[in-house]
């Protein structure tokens, strides 16, 4: 399975990658984008099975990425990994079609809880 990690921070993309491995997802093919615009193109060109996206990014934020994908009929499973996790943001994410929102800082366990329904 292929997972697209979207975050403007290379440090955070590295930590997400490491945490996925620690959560037991060692066979995933991981690809990366540094903002929503880049991610939008990669969803179309590389057809990932899951998008893990930051919310607050330059160029195009994660919420606009999700809205753009759904607006164009892309049903790729989508989850947020973000430093903000208010009730309002969770509700907004869910109503736009996100499967989950994992708050930073996260643990391998919180990744497993969020990803098991999607990746098994």
């Amino acid at each position: 399975m292929k997972v697209l990690i979207v975050d403007d921070s290379r440090v955070m993309r590295q930590i997400v990658t490491r945490t996925l491995r620690q959560a037991g997802y060692t066979e995933l093919a991981l690809i990366e984008a540094s903002n929503g615009l880049e991610a939008y193109d990669m969803v179309q060109s590389q057809s990932p099975d899951l998008v893990l996206s930051d919310w607050n990014m330059p160029e195009m934020n994660g919420f606009d990425l999700l809205k753009s994908l759904r607006g164009r009929g892309h049903a790729v499973p989508f989850g947020f990994i973000t430093s903000e996790s208010t009730t309002e943001m969770r509700a907004k994410a869910e109503s736009a079609g996100a499967l989950f929102l994992v708050a930073k800082p996260f643990t391998p366990e919180s990744f497993k809880d969020a990803l098991t329904p999607v990746l098994g």
């Binding site: 403007d8 921070s9 290379r10 440090v11 955070m12 590295q14 930590i15 490491r18 607050n56 990014m57 330059p58 973000t82 430093s83 903000e84 996790s85 208010t86 309002e88 708050a103 930073k104 800082p105 996260f106 643990t107």
Partner: protein, 163 residues
């Protein structure tokens, strides 16, 4: 005016939890931090009903050690961009948690990184959490900002630190 529902002890717990998830060994508490002259500061601003700045401060050597740990990379391979990325992301994570304690709607800026103090001296400093990690100082500061009405012809607002 909206408020920040966060007590100093709660900020301490919040920062401890974040540091525990990101750093090995876990940073230790410190009474004070000597930042010397090579300060590196990552910060984010919270705007909305409550205005404030959340800053994460360390030294240049501290930033190298932190970036090396977070990127799992040798220190000599790291550039300024990597240090800014690491310290900025720390500010983003702490700032996001602080924002969740602001009552009502607010927004979080993208992180910025500077090599100078970004908080105003001599003004009220809401809260500080000071730790050491691998002998490097690592400090979080949360400062409220108030809007000062300036008597200008165009009625523009001027942002100033709370006093």
């Amino acid at each position: 005016m909206m408020t920040l529902a966060l007590a100093p002890a709660e900020l301490k717990s919040m920062v401890d939890e974040i540091w525990s998830s990101l750093f090995q060994p876990v940073p230790t508490d410190a009474d004070d931090a000597d930042m010397g002259s090579d300060l590196v500061v990552g910060f984010v601003d919270i705007s909305g009903g409550w205005l404030g700045r959340v800053a994460v401060e360390t030294t240049d050597a501290g930033a190298v050690a932190i970036a090396s740990s977070m990127l799992a990379a040798e220190p000599h391979t790291l550039g300024d961009e990597d240090l800014a990325d690491a310290i900025g992301e720390l500010a983003n994570i702490v700032g996001g948690s602080v924002k969740s304690c602001v009552e009502g709607q607010s927004s979080l800026s993208l992180p910025s990184v500077e090599r100078q103090n970004v908080l105003r001296h001599g003004t009220s400093e809401l809260m500080t959490v000071t730790t050491h990690w691998l002998d490097h100082p690592l400090r979080v500061r949360v400062q409220q900002i108030r809007v000062v009405e300036e008597l200008t012809a165009n009625g523009a607002h001027h942002l100033d630190a709370a006093s």
